[in-house]
Symmetry: C2
Subunit: 321 residues, 2 copies
């Protein structure tokens, strides 16, 4: 399936330009870190969602590209802090900011980008946009804290998992859509529709992202080597695996989460998840979210934006890597 | 000199209550950390400045106490991140959050409080308040980053020092005053006057705070043991000491900043700063700021608020510990 973002090359280029323009601080040393994380080649899904949400609501905002970069800055800020928390040394195939600059500078560069994104959100004379972004940062920080609380423990429930991914992932995708809508309209049903769309693709995105970490084909090609389980993070595949485990298997999983990982038990858990049909179950769950996301868009008349938003949601569900 | 904040006991109690009400997260575990830093008994200078600034501009905002706690949350958030950056194990005489919960949880609790303060700033239907707070967080994070860049180096100039303390300290005190003013008035001269007042007491506060770290009487009583120099921070007393040093003395100071500290050279630097008249020079400089702060208030007619704001500025200048 082709990435639908590719049909938006021109818009993506404008967003790239605006991204570079605004992360600048007066201090070259801050720019090095922020530029490192922002140039690492993300797919810019969040800015594109802002753009499409604004346009589907009939935006004529000349500062629209500036609005679009706000969620990308928030995302980058959260990645910087994530890498410090998880001691992540590789980010998108390159050494992480944490690895290069150490935890102190990385924490502060994250603070700087959080602040920059919130400050940008006040540029539009629209308190709803600023409020949405502030609320999002609050939820994201809670999500990270809850995740940390459960780190290395095998006792996380589906309910807690969905709460964490709502806060950590869905909330920023919702905000990406809502600020776009807010910039263009006061129409509550439209705003609500885009909120629903964002919420559903947010959940679909994260459960697929967490599944990708356990796909046997990624293990075989060496693309993925069980990053989440190595970091002691219990995500949906492991939660479902625990539910389907006998006492010995449960103990084996808990032992892995506590840090005892080797090639043997990694190989075992990948196969276990596949053999128990967990891959299929999660993929089905993601498609349910995607169907809900597409239904949410029904109130909008047909348009280029509606088509691409629909394609984006389907692309998220089909992702293998 | 008696602390003028003591005349505001009733107001301070209301602020304490509001502080406790709003830092709550749904998660008890987050509350433990935020409550630790917020209950450590700060003087609540910033909330009081917001309150007085609002009242001197004729505020009748029923949510005024909620507004007042915003700068205190920001301050607490910055202290949490500061302790991680500086590896500070003691804060206000108690073990720091960093010492108790480790760097990861402390970073995230800081993010949470930053986010909560910004989110609160959007509750007043006034974009100027939200913008001021967002700008302040941006400047504060830049200030921390610049300070970190110069850590352990003996080459910081007065210009850079004043730039850092503007960003790290003055900016939040200015914001404390300005959001109070914004909540009550659109009158530019009044807002500007309170901005000037905040700026000047901000500088006075920080240069005195940095001087206190080098006062021989504090060294003798064991209250202060050269925390800044031990952390490799070059503040105004050391900058002036470098200016008055011969080659050997310069090398000795630089050696201390690089981490080679013992009782002998600590004793030496405290005496050196005292003997060269640096204490007096900094105290005089602080009084200049305070005079400017008091002059800025001249546009307001006499009132209880004006009297207390004046007393606060004089109290800052006279502080020994």
């Amino acid at each position: 399936m082709e990435n639908p973002l590719l049909s938006l090359t021109e818009e993506t280029e404008k967003i790239e330009k605006t991204l570079k323009l605004h992360f600048q601080s007066d201090f070259s040393y801050i720019n090095e870190i922020t530029s490192h994380i922002l140039s690492a080649g993300g797919k810019r899904v969040r800015p594109i969602l802002t753009l499409l949400s604004a346009n589907i609501c009939g935006s004529n905002d000349r500062k629209l590209h500036e609005l679009c970069i706000i969620p990308e800055y928030l995302h980058a800020a959260s990645l910087l802090h994530d890498d410090v928390i998880d001691e992540g040394e590789i980010r998108r195939g390159k050494p992480s900011a944490y690895k290069i600059w150490g935890n102190k500078k990385t924490i502060l560069a994250g603070d700087f980008l959080y602040a920059r994104s919130i400050e940008l959100a006040t540029h539009f004379g629209n308190l709803k946009i600023a409020t949405e972004i502030a609320k999002t940062v609050l939820l994201m920080s809670e999500g990270e804290l809850i995740q940390l609380q459960y780190k290395n423990l095998g006792n996380i429930t589906s309910e807690v998992y969905y709460d964490i991914i709502f806060r950590k992932t869905a909330t920023l995708i919702i905000a990406s859509c809502k600020i776009g809508a807010y910039s263009a309209t006061d129409d509550s049903p439209k705003i609500k529709a885009l909120e629903n769309y964002g919420n559903n693709i947010g959940f679909a995105f994260q459960i697929i992202d967490d599944l990708i970490d356990y796909l046997p084909e990624n293990y075989k090609t060496g693309k993925i080597k069980g990053k989440d389980i190595k970091e002691g993070k219990m995500t949906l595949p492991l939660i479902l695996a625990m539910e389907r485990s006998n006492t010995n298997e449960k103990a084996r999983i808990q032992n892995m989460l506590a840090g005892n990982i080797n090639e043997d038990n990694l190989h075992w858990i990948f196969n276990f998840i596949n053999d128990k049909g967990i891959n299929t179950e999660i993929r089905d769950k993601a498609f349910e979210y995607i169907e809900k996301a597409c239904s949410a868009l029904e109130i909008f008349p047909d348009s280029k934006e509606k088509t691409i938003l629909t394609e984006i949601s389907r692309f998220i569900g089909a992702r293998n890597f």
